[in-house]
């Protein structure tokens, strides 16, 4: 069962206990424990292939676990149509009929969700308002902008008034305005008491929306807890420092960076980061590193955020202790 780091608002909507899953002989999920209460938003963070989408498919009843149990509203969503009805699934892709209008799409999904004819019109009006897309109700989906398509995609998952909504990277590839609009929709949902499970790569999004976060790596939950608790603990620690380099470091410069406790942030090799306690302030660090041949152009100092926690949780455990142990840079290093 999930570790109750804070009070769960009510009876859990979804509970995963000791869930393991293998697909085509490969372990995808291994011993997952999670619980999600009504009105609670859980952000699932993890690299590609960590098992986020598979976990969502399990909750949606699309897959059944090899071991452990999945319960939605107390029933197995793989077997119970009633349990599936309680789940609204918003896939990563724009899963809409492109030649149908927004209202027609929503009406079709209402029908597929088993809503009787007399309730459909009302349900469509309700999600149009909830997602703030009533102005495009009559437009054919294929003619809408990407941001609107995303909002319709979410609205379609809400048509059956689900107690739990699963969102797989809902703001993938949209502009800031559309992203804000989507966040507003999710905020409204949360206020209505809907439980939300959201898989995302977007840390600010998770910080803004989630009550709890779970980091998933190689099919296991490597850290999980209430966002506020996790961030509070981080903020009592040293600030995070980020270096921006002019060019990718050569071998010698890289060694200097690693010895000083920096690790690359991103694939370009131009951003390096550390949360280690430092002996030098920003200006001194810049001078010291430059003197040692590291092409640093900028040093940023800020309080640690969710991303720091994530990188820390996903960092292989044995790296810190092996070989070149990180040690704080001091002025004495410049010989």
């Amino acid at each position: 069962m999930g570790r109750p780091l804070g009070p769960v608002p009510s009876e859990p909507v979804a509970v995963l206990g000791g869930v393991s899953l293998a697909l085509r002989g490969r372990t995808v999920l291994d011993g997952i424990d999670l619980a999600l209460g009504a009105g609670e938003t859980l952000a699932l963070l993890g690299p590609n292939g960590a098992g986020k989408t598979s976990l969502m498919r399990l909750v949606a009843g699309r897959l059944t676990p090899d071991a452990g149990s999945v319960r939605v509203g107390g029933a197995d969503p793989h077997r119970s149509g009633e349990a599936r009805r309680a789940v609204g699934w918003v896939p990563q892709e724009i899963a809409l009929y492109p030649r149908l209008t927004v209202a027609e799409n929503l009406s079709v999904f209402a029908q597929l969700a088993g809503l009787p004819r007399r309730e459909r019109r009302e349900a469509v009006a309700r999600v149009l308002a909830l997602a703030d897309i009533a102005d495009v109700a009559g437009r054919v989906v294929a003619t809408l902008s990407g941001g609107y398509q995303r909002r319709v995609n979410i609205a379609a998952g809400l048509i059956g008034q689900p107690a739990l909504v699963l969102l797989d990277e809902p703001t993938n590839g949209v502009d800031l305005a559309a992203r804000a609009a989507i966040h507003a929709v999710l905020q409204r949902l949360r206020e209505q008491g809907t439980a939300i499970l959201i898989a995302t790569h977007d840390f600010p999004e998770a910080e803004r929306l989630a009550d709890r976060v779970a980091f998933l790596a190689q099919g296991r939950i490597v850290r999980e807890g209430h966002l506020a608790d996790l961030l509070a603990r981080l903020r009592t620690g040293p600030p995070e420092r980020e270096l921006i380099l002019d060019t990718a470091p050569d071998t010698a410069a890289e060694l200097v960076l690693r010895r000083a406790g920096f690790t690359p942030a991103g694939a370009s090799g131009l951003r390096w980061r550390t949360g280690e306690r430092a002996g030098l302030d920003g200006a001194a660090l810049l001078g010291t590193l430059r003197a040692q041949g590291v092409p640093v152009s900028e040093v940023r100092v800020r309080s640690p955020r969710l991303e720091t926690l994530y990188l820390e949780a996903l960092r292989p455990r044995d790296v810190g202790e092996a070989g070149a142990a990180a040690r704080p840079l001091t002025a004495g290093l410049t010989r």
């Binding site: 896939p91 079709v108 029908q111 597929l112």
Partner: protein, 402 residues
């Protein structure tokens, strides 16, 4: 829920103008073209292109040339050739399908002439690529000789008898004159009309046209159903299946909705094809309409079921496309939708019963020819195919997890 999937198919088709036109205009266009091909290929008049060269230039060869040219079942071109080699060149070049060169007089010589063993005044020059033209040309030549020049045929017979010594030259001349006189009076020669033609057709064009109307309906509905069923693959690739599978009815209700839509669309398309058959070729549905409707419904259901099964089993869009094109082409070729099955080798004719096309053709032919009781076996096979296809499609999407 099934109605929702039906509605999606209908709205998607209505919004796609090009697809809409193709779905409901193409059936009649394709029928008209295929019907013209079929009626030329298996109708009673295969009008081969016959080349004629009169190398002898006798009165009898002139008569034969005129008789052949006047025959409505042949398309004749008089070749301006001076030798057999030139005739062969024309045939090889494809100017004509087959050629007849009249190199000697048709009237047999007198008894004093040496009876040459190679006394064959007509040479047929054939092209192996158009082998079918040879027996047709030979048959038509024999018919025209019997009908238009019976005296010439008989005179050759009498010449043979004279050569055996059973009759003398005077008697031969007497008989020749008698035959010439009979021909001049236009009195019929009994040997020229030994055959009376009796047809199984009951007055309407049903027996003649229902074969290829059924054949074209089967192939068209299979193609149309495959195109419609491809939406199953598209929905899988666009993530729609993810959403649909998460619903309480899952994908099976979507498959059922598509099955219903494709069957209804097929009935309309089959109706349009037979409407064209009625207007262009005089096919009458009349008293056989219950059997005809049953055939339309079950052929459409069969096409929908098989197409959905193929698309549900296909792991990718490419696989589905291959099944849609090559699979349907193969079934249609073996099943007689392209070449009539009676023209195929016996083993292939037998293999044809394994295809849905053969049963669809059989259903339409017996429904329009004899009515419902005669069509029942074929209708039962079509219903079984439809159910089997639908069953496979439902089982396949129920088992699919990703």
């Amino acid at each position: 829920m099934i109605g929702a999937a039906f509605r999606v198919m209908l709205l998607s088709l209505v919004r796609d103008r090009a697809a809409l036109v193709m779905a409901f205009v193409l059936p009649t266009v394709i029928f008209s073209i295929f019907a013209a091909i079929f009626s030329g290929a298996i109708g009673d008049r295969i009008r081969i292109h016959l080349g004629l060269a009169d190398l002898a230039g006798t009165p009898a060869t002139h008569r034969l040339m005129d008789a052949l040219s006047a025959d409505p079942s042949l398309r004749v071109t008089r070749l301006d050739a001076k030798s057999l080699a030139e005739v062969a060149r024309e045939v090889r070049a494809g100017e004509v399908d087959v050629a007849l060169a009249l190199r000697g007089d048709l009237i047999a010589g007198t008894s004093s002439d040496a009876a040459a063993p190679a006394d064959q005044p007509i040479v047929l020059v054939e092209n192996p690529a158009k082998a079918l033209a040879t027996p047709i040309a030979l048959g038509q030549l024999q018919r025209v000789l019997n009908e238009a020049m019976p005296d010439v045929v008989l005179s050759r017979v009498i010449a043979d008898v004279e050569r055996t010594g059973k009759i003398g030259a005077d008697e031969r001349r007497f008989l020749d004159d008698a035959f010439a006189e009979q021909r001049a009076k236009k009195e019929p020669f009994s040997f020229a009309s030994l055959v009376e033609r009796v047809s199984t057709a009951s007055g309407t064009a049903n027996a003649r046209v229902s074969y290829y109307a059924g054949a074209i309906t089967a192939v068209f509905l299979l193609f149309a159903a495959m195109q419609g069923a491809l939406s199953l693959v598209e929905e899988r690739e666009s993530g729609l299946s993810d959403r649909l599978m998460a619903g309480p009815g899952g994908l099976p209700v979507v498959v059922l909705g598509k099955f219903g839509f494709l069957t209804a669309q097929g009935v309309v398309q089959a109706g349009l094809i037979f409407l064209a058959a009625g207007l262009l070729y005089g096919v009458e549905i009349g008293p056989h309409w219950p059997a005809f409707l049953a055939a339309c419904l079950l052929v459409s259901a069969m096409a929908a079921g098989l197409a959905l099964a193929a698309c549900a089993l296909a792991a990718s869009r490419q696989q589905a496309h291959l099944a849609a094109t090559f699979g349907v082409l193969l079934l249609s070729a073996v099943g007689g939708s392209m070449v009539p099955r009676f023209l195929m080798p016996p083993w292939l004719q037998q293999a044809g019963w394994l295809t849905p096309n053969a049963w669809a053709i059989e259903a339409y032919q017996s429904a329009l020819g004899e009515g419902l009781p005669a069509a029942l076996p074929a209708l039962a096979v079509l219903a079984a195919m439809a159910l089997a296809g639908l069953g496979v499609a439902l089982a396949s999407v129920s088992r699919r997890t990703i």
